[in-house]
């Protein structure tokens, strides 16, 4: 048994089989992710923060191949830095999403990562963009990663426009908790990032503090 599973994880690609979610509220966005990184059946990192900053008020959520997703985020972080110096002000969320989309689309055969870009800018307030496979679409909320399949029904039923920041945070935590319970590739702690015009707030909800449901 040990012999069989001993070296599999060394040769299998490291994936952030994961659950990520971003939700827009009136005045900002809330992003959330789990923290599990798996290579086959092994969890190689149980505390990875998959919410990566692209700029002060723009974050992206990583899913898919860990290496691909991290690299895209780093490249876009650099490109946004240059861009914001050129325009001499904070970049728009749509610009960040476009940069991510450009890389995802150009290298779509080689890369297998899906990033959700969300943030706040002065022009359009809170925005969430999905960039799956190189498309660019603005949505009121977006879910991604392997765990997202299990919570489509829940988010469809529970999402309402015009939620407050606290309601959004609770919605995100509930969704992550449900997905973690069902998806073998999601787990660990929940990272939550809330962005509005006043600033960015990062929070961690530990495993035992996640909401529980009727069968737990």
């Amino acid at each position: 048994m040990l012999q069989e599973t001993g070296t599999e994880w060394l040769s299998q690609e490291v994936k952030t089989g994961t659950t990520i979610i971003a939700v827009e509220f009136d005045g900002g966005v809330v992003l959330g992710s789990d923290s599990r990184v798996s290579a086959g059946a092994s969890v190689v990192n149980r505390v990875m923060n998959k919410l990566s900053p692209l700029h002060d008020k723009i974050y992206c959520a990583l899913s898919g191949s860990a290496a691909d997703a991290q690299t895209i985020a780093e490249v876009v972080h650099y490109q946004l830095d240059v861009h914001s110096i050129e325009i001499d002000e904070d970049p728009q969320v749509r610009s960040a999403a476009t940069l991510v989309r450009n890389i995802s689309y150009k290298y779509k055969e080689e890369l297998s990562a899906h990033l959700i870009v969300a943030g706040w800018d002065r022009r359009d307030g809170g925005q969430v963009f999905a960039t799956l496979s190189g498309l660019l679409t603005r949505q009121p909320f977006a879910v991604g990663g392997s765990g997202s399949s299990y919570v489509y029904g829940f988010v469809d039923a529970e999402f309402r426009r015009g939620m407050s920041k606290e309601e959004c945070q609770q919605f995100v935590v509930n969704t992550l908790s449900l997905a973690i319970n069902r998806d073998g590739s999601s787990g660990g702690v929940a990272y939550i990032v809330s962005i509005d015009e006043h600033g960015t707030e990062e929070k961690v909800v530990l495993g035992n503090d996640l909401p529980t449901f009727f069968d737990q």
């Binding site: 399949s149 299990y150 489509y152 029904g153 829940f154 469809d156 039923a157 449900l178 069902r182 449901f213």
Partner: protein
């Protein structure tokens, strides 16, 4: 194109589907969508009823290959009616679930099916069980992640005081639970069911819960759709509720 059409012919008519069963205070609701598709490309029937009565107060839900499901439920009906004649009493839900389990397990190489069994029997009140027979020996997670693996879900209602539904997942084990879901569309509503199901709901709450869950799954799964067939089984009898497509609950994005 060539390869896909061969696949469709070989796979035959399948019910990529959504099925569920849930217990409430005094009974069980079992329900399904109504779409039968070939290869996920062509809807061969918009109005198929996947909730099958295997005895007076015992129902089954079918998911997976339609031909397999019909053959198995036909065999189960026969076994159960024979059993009830022998015992001189209506069969227990767990008996119905066991019959399906045996059929699934003994034919697991050929069948791709999971059953939800829900019903009401005198001994234990409302119960729900699920069973799946599949040539894959993977766990439920594997089955759920691959939409091409179909489940047969049979709901058998057996009246009993502790509310339980029996599930026979792929491979043919038998598990009793208060609520269970199956079919390709069920992946999308795991979160919803976990969050919204409460034990000992009222009949109306449970019906609403089941209708919502089916509507959400049909909204996300392309091989589930049509109308929602629901059957409510209690000690006093059986009631069919059909919710047509335009009367299904709508959610924020519709």
């Amino acid at each position: 194109m060539e390869k896909r059409s061969v696949d469709s012919r070989v796979r035959g008519v399948s019910t990529g589907t959504t099925i569920l069963a849930a217990t409430f205070d005094g009974g069980v609701v079992i329900g399904s969508d109504s779409r039968a598709s070939i290869g996920g490309e062509y809807v061969s029937s918009k109005t198929i009823n996947k909730v099958v009565q295997v005895h007076d107060q015992i129902f089954c839900c079918m998911a997976g290959s339609l031909a397999d499901a019909q053959a198995v439920t036909k065999a189960a009906k026969f076994h159960l009616s024979f059993h009830s004649v022998q015992m001189e009493t209506p069969p227990l839900v767990i008996a119905a679930a066991s019959v399906l389990q045996e059929l699934c397990y003994n034919n697991k190489e050929e069948l791709q099916a999971g059953f939800i069994t829900a019903g009401w029997d005198r001994k234990k009140g409302p119960q729900v069980g699920a069973g799946r027979g599949d040539s894959h020996t993977g766990s439920r997670d594997t089955a759920v992640q691959s939409n091409s693996t179909y489940w047969r879900v049979a709901a058998v209602l057996i009246p009993c005081v502790p509310l339980q539904v029996y599930v026979v997942p792929l491979g043919g084990m038998l598990v009793g639970q208060p609520v269970t879901i199956g079919g390709s569309g069920s992946t999308y509503i795991y979160g919803y069911v976990d969050a919204k199901y409460k034990p000992n709901m009222s009949r109306e709450e449970c019906l609403q819960f089941a209708t919502n869950a089916l509507a959400l799954a049909m909204g996300r799964d392309n091989v589930s759709g049509g109308v929602a067939h629901l059957v409510v089984i209690t000690e006093t009898g059986v009631e069919h509720v059909v919710v047509p497509g335009n009367k299904l609950p709508k959610f924020h994005n519709e």
